[in-house]
């Protein structure tokens, strides 16, 4: 009965008066149970009704009813934000409030405020309408309804039915034209089977959906929130090309969209000749072009309509010397072609856990990188991001948008992720590699001297490879040269009190394919604490690996690390004359499947010698392993805080 009522009641929003609609009143009568964790509000009803037309046009009506439970609920749910763009028409927008002790409110689109989407883009056509809902105070029920119409480039959709607060009931109804078919996939939730509610009409309903709890280092929202992906297969064969049946279908669609984008203009050809003229090998030529792309073509995103997917022509990108990720991939592909090296688009995602190989879809992508088909004369040494493809041989994955990650590496967020290889004849989903920990290294070596007052002088050299080099290089280059000493001071200030940076130099800053080398000297007053005739010295002078020890409550979601890495510290601290080590911290040696930590301190030739190595081999820690991970980090934290006790030897 409830199903039938719901479907019948879900016609296009009619011209209601200034009173709340029946569906909202019905939702307001729901009994709200007591929830754990004191949510600020509860969603009484989340309803989404989609009508697909034979011409591929999709119209969706969204409804939500909330009961505000706490004052914070007003701030978080007392307004409605609706996004739309030049391809999506917002048809209707209304909201209501049912105060527990007063007259109902209704607000409409004319009461809303519209603004552009704030982001990095120089221009995009996405707009947001914000509508404040009156009387969103504890005890009151509020609700809204809006509808949108669009004609998507690919016939795909999704229905997210989980939120940061509990949901009592969520429904999705779908009306398809005769002869159309659907494919669905449920993610992060137990599947609820569809219920037929009419001719080629379906309904899905889920009840008592718990809130998603936000935890640090958790996977991205689409990887944890319950949702259903939908693909529509039209009856009309002409529209079938808009159905993403397989990864190959999507790749073909994209190949068609970009078929003429890479044509090289005479200016591009001339520039390629100029850049590669003095380069002796194919690899050197490739490096010259990738370096040009990273440094000379700046990131400027202009996305309008299909421009969200379709790159600007290479000639245009070259002419203006700017473009977004797909523009940069396009121009680089064009330039590589001029030296006889082929390359293919790889449509990518910058968060892990969103793309699912078993459900081909365009919706999971947000980035574009390139797969460079390496000719036989290019050696693999030093090129870590190579995939061996049965048809195309060695494919070197490269991100021309990342200004600092050199050829041979890919940014951490693209590792252990997926990308859609797009070739002129189709494509496939590639599993992008997780680069080994040994490629992302940091080695910090310090020669330090302690005096009898506890003051320390330090001379430290840091060598960084891979991601640690990229991260620090980016930070330094993005800081005006006059302020770069502050980066060293901030780092030292995190570990030391009462210090003064006496010198700092940076090696290979602009040689992105070389290690980044930082050399700095400092003095610290009262580094060692005087305690009677003892001096207390923390041997781990700099560097911190011991985070992630918050043990407040059981973990619900897995933990994601940025990358696999090996980081080492090696400090020699010359002791003041007349002092001997009286007590030393014990060595630590922990090994797990995902990482290891080893530290050791000894005394020789009048110096304390502290060495430690921290390694993370995996980027994904499953929830059952989290307690063990906490223990792992707790041991690291203890080691980092441990002190050696020096005693003044007899005179």
């Amino acid at each position: 009965m409830a199903v039938a009522l719901c479907f019948v009641g879900f016609a296009r929003p009619g011209k209601a008066g200034d009173t709340a609609p029946d569906w909202l009143r019905a939702a307001a009568r729901e009994t709200v149970p007591v929830f754990p964790n004191n949510p600020v509000a509860v969603i009484l009803l989340d309803e989404c009704s989609t009508t697909v037309r034979d011409n591929g046009e999709i119209e969706t009506v969204y409804r939500r009813a909330y009961k505000i439970l706490r004052p914070e609920g007003r701030e978080r749910y007392g307004h409605l934000e609706v996004h739309f763009d030049s391809d999506t028409r917002l048809l209707e927008l209304k909201a209501w409030a049912l105060p527990a002790d007063g007259k109902e409110y209704e607000v409409k689109e004319k009461d809303s405020v519209e603004h552009g989407l704030v982001g990095e883009d120089l221009y995009n056509d996405e707009q947001v309408k914000v509508l404040d809902i009156p009387a969103a105070t504890p005890g009151n029920v509020i609700g809204y309804e809006y509808s949108k119409r669009h004609r998507p480039y690919l016939l795909e959709d999704d229905w997210y039915f989980q939120d940061l607060i509990p949901i009592l009931r969520a429904r999705f109804t779908l009306q398809l034209p005769p002869g159309w078919e659907i494919t669905t996939r449920w993610a992060n939730y137990v599947e609820s089977k569809e219920q037929p509610v009419g001719s080629n009409s379906f309904l899905w309903e889920v009840e008592n959906i718990p809130a998603v709890e936000v935890e640090p280092e958790m996977p991205p929202w689409p990887a944890v929130a319950g949702h259903m992906d939908v693909k529509y297969s039209p009856r009309d064969p002409a529209l079938r090309s808009k159905t993403s049946g397989s990864w190959n279908d999507i790749a073909l669609w994209y190949a068609g969209l970009t078929v003429s984008s890479r044509e090289a203009s005479p200016e591009i050809k001339q520039k390629v000749a100029e850049l590669t003229a003095g380069e002796p090998t194919t690899l050197d030529k490739i490096k010259a072009l990738t370096s040009f792309m990273q440094r000379q073509i700046r990131y400027v995103a202009i996305e309008i309509g299909i421009g969200g997917y379709q790159p600007h022509p290479a000639s245009e990108v070259f002419r203006y010397r700017y473009g977004d990720c797909k523009d940069k991939a396009t121009l680089l592909g064009s330039m590589l072609h001029e030296i006889g090296v082929e390359s293919y688009y790889v449509v990518a995602q910058t968060d892990r856990g969103i793309l699912r190989p078993d459900f081909p879809s365009l919706r999971g992508f947000n980035h574009m990188i390139l797969a460079i088909r390496l000719p036989d004369d290019v050696p693999s040494a030093g090129l870590y991001a190579i995939l061996k493809h049965p048809q195309y041989g060695r494919l070197l994955i490269f991100d021309p948008t990342d200004p600092y990650t050199p050829l041979g590496y890919i940014p951490p967020y693209e590792q252990d992720n997926y990308g859609l290889l797009v070739t002129p004849t189709g494509g496939e989903l590639l599993a992008l590699p997780l680069l080994p920990a040994s490629t992302n290294r940091l080695l910090r070596t310090g020669e330090l001297t302690l005096n009898s007052d506890g003051d320390l002088t330090g001379d430290v050299v840091e060598i960084r490879w891979g991601a640690p080099a990229v991260i620090r290089r980016a930070q330094i280059l993005e800081t005006p040269p006059a302020d770069r000493a502050k980066i060293f001071e901030d780092f030292l200030g995190y570990h030391l009190n009462n210090f003064r940076l006496t010198s700092a130099s940076i090696g290979n800053l602009e040689l992105y394919d070389q290690t980044l080398e930082l050399h700095y000297k400092f003095v610290v007053q009262n580094y060692a604490k005087v305690a009677g005739n003892l001096l207390l010295v923390r041997p781990r002078v700099l560097g911190s690996e011991g985070g992630m020890v918050d043990a407040d409550k059981p973990r619900k979601y897995p933990i994601q690390f940025l990358d696999a890495t090996v980081q080492s510290d090696d400090y020699k601290i010359a002791l003041p004359a007349g002092f001997v080590a009286d007590d030393l911290p014990d060595p630590v040696d922990v090994k797990t499947d995902y990482g290891s930590y080893k530290s050791k301190i000894d005394v020789a030739d009048g110096s304390l010698h502290y060495r430690r190595t921290f390694e993370i081999k995996q980027v994904y820690i499953a929830t059952p392993e989290v307690p063990d991970l906490r223990k792992f980090y707790s041991q690291i934290s203890s080691d980092e805080r441990a002190n050696a006790v020096l005693r003044k030897s007899a005179p």
Binding site: E72, P134, R321, P480, A485, E489, N643
Partner: protein, 659 residues
Amino acid sequence: MTRSPSLVPCVVLTLLVALLLLPGRSPAKDEWQPISPADLALRDNPAAPGAHGMILYRESVTNAADAYETEYERIKIFTEEGKSLGDVEIDYDSKASKIEDIRARTIRTDGSVVNFDGQIFDKEVVKASGLKVLAKTFSLPEVEPGCIIEYKYRVQHNTDYYWSIEWPVQSNLFTREARFAIKPDTKPGAPALYWRKYMIPSTAKPEMQKDGTLAMEIQNLPGIEEEDLMPPESAIRARVSFFYRDQDDPQNETPEQFWKRIGKKMSDSEEHFIDKKGALQGVVSQTIGAGDSPEVKLQKLYARVQQIPNTGYEVQKTAKEEKREKQKENNNVEDVLKHDSANGHQLNELMVGLARAAGFDSAMIFVAPRSHNSFYYELEDSRQLSADLVWVRLNNTDVFLDPASKYYPYGELPWYETGVNGLKPTKRGADTISVPLSKPADAIRERHADVHLDPDGTLSGTVSVNFLGEWGCMEREYFWQDDDIARKKELTDDVKSWLPGGTFEITEMSGWSDSSQPLHIAGTVRIPGFATQAGHRALVPVTFFRATEPPSFTHETRVNPIYFHYPYTERDSLEIHFPDGLKVETVPAAAKAAPGAGFLYDVSATQDGTGVKMERHLVIGGILFSVDTYPALRRFFNTVKTGDDAQIVLQPTQTSQSR
């Protein structure tokens, strides 16, 4: 209580003054100034090396009569990251103005020119009823280190009103040379144009030129650099703003004449609202007793005013709610009493009326709140005085009150209303007045921990925190819209941020509704691994609570003055008990620093049986310190951090050692 500027009689007209004459229009010009070889060769700014870019020249010319502005900017790019300066965004209100004649070009390092011929986009910033703010966005071509970019455009405003005119002289980039000019409207009937300058070097000011324009040139102006603990931007950014004076008002007044006239107007307005002796007398007689001391009388009247619901502390309503719940208008203090509801300004006016009715000399005073700006007497702009207070003469001393600040009891003021200057309007004019800065003892945070160490190094026990005086008021005001669940969660996070890990759970919370009492929280703490191992010894931090000072003194150099919002005191104490088998080997020596200016730090620990007791005091004695005092302040905070970092050394007792 801060309030909207519109409550002060408005003497400037920046908007909506009709212009009778039709505009002229300057033709767009596409001429560019010559580029010097030296500028092309420039690789860094010799006057301030190490920036991503600098403004070589900018020119802003305003024609007030024809309601248009022309802007021109030439920028040198020094670094790769400076290339983003080639992305330009010009915001404008599309209902009141339009951007025309945008021209831009890039001059390569070899002197060749690439004219901008790309697309200019209209990006929507915000659109609402009666408002549509757009931004013209474009990106210059071939921007690379060493190149020069330049662009110019014209802003044509609607001619049926005046618009706010300001020369934003200082930007975030170093400006080598800039010229600003304005041609006032001199047609008959046009209002006179005045200017005021903020933080402009004394060598520069707008000067009248022969052609009737006001112009100012400025050279070598550093960019604004953002730092922690810096004064509000309005207090440091150089700018010139222009305003029109009402034609009915006297022209060319001295500051004294201006404030006298304004003071009279303000006084008249206040007296009109307050002067309801009959109604006030009734309240006074119901509220105070004949035997009360003068201060007790004031306290009772203050409490009475704070009983009236303050609309400033109601949850912000939507336009629709406000329309429906239209509040009854208060035209005088009698209405306030009758409607039992008022805004903050009206409550302060009621306080003045009640104090007077009780026999006190009392008046409204208006100040520039430190959260926004300072009061410049020579700047003839009453909008500076956007906060109001109550002045009362009590036992030959000046007392400043703000009952409109709901969470501040008698004697406490919000920090931004202390240490400020303003005016006391009178029937004859206005007296300048200063509200004293609060003292460190007026804002106190007390933290106490009573804990014991387990043999495995885990620390357990209780922690209590009291927020006293102004500090408690600030906490209450910060949380006023929240329920206890939200307060508990945020305060738990605060306490956890002071601890080296572990858990903290609040078990007691009190004082939210009574501002005269400390705001108090207490709870239980458990920190595994609190003691660190050093061979057979164990070490325990003596201060327990981690230093909470911001890392503002990490850098050796500083550009801006150092600004604390208010003086304050931290009092921490710790009682820690150790398990059998461990004895105290050493406790850290006492440390103290008293560098003057009211700053003080002292920490001391003493052995007490099987445990240690620690006391720590930190006093921040002032609010504003010039850059040259930065090294001394840095030394002081380094001493604090070093003292806080000291450790208690424990060693096994002989019995346990032998075990």
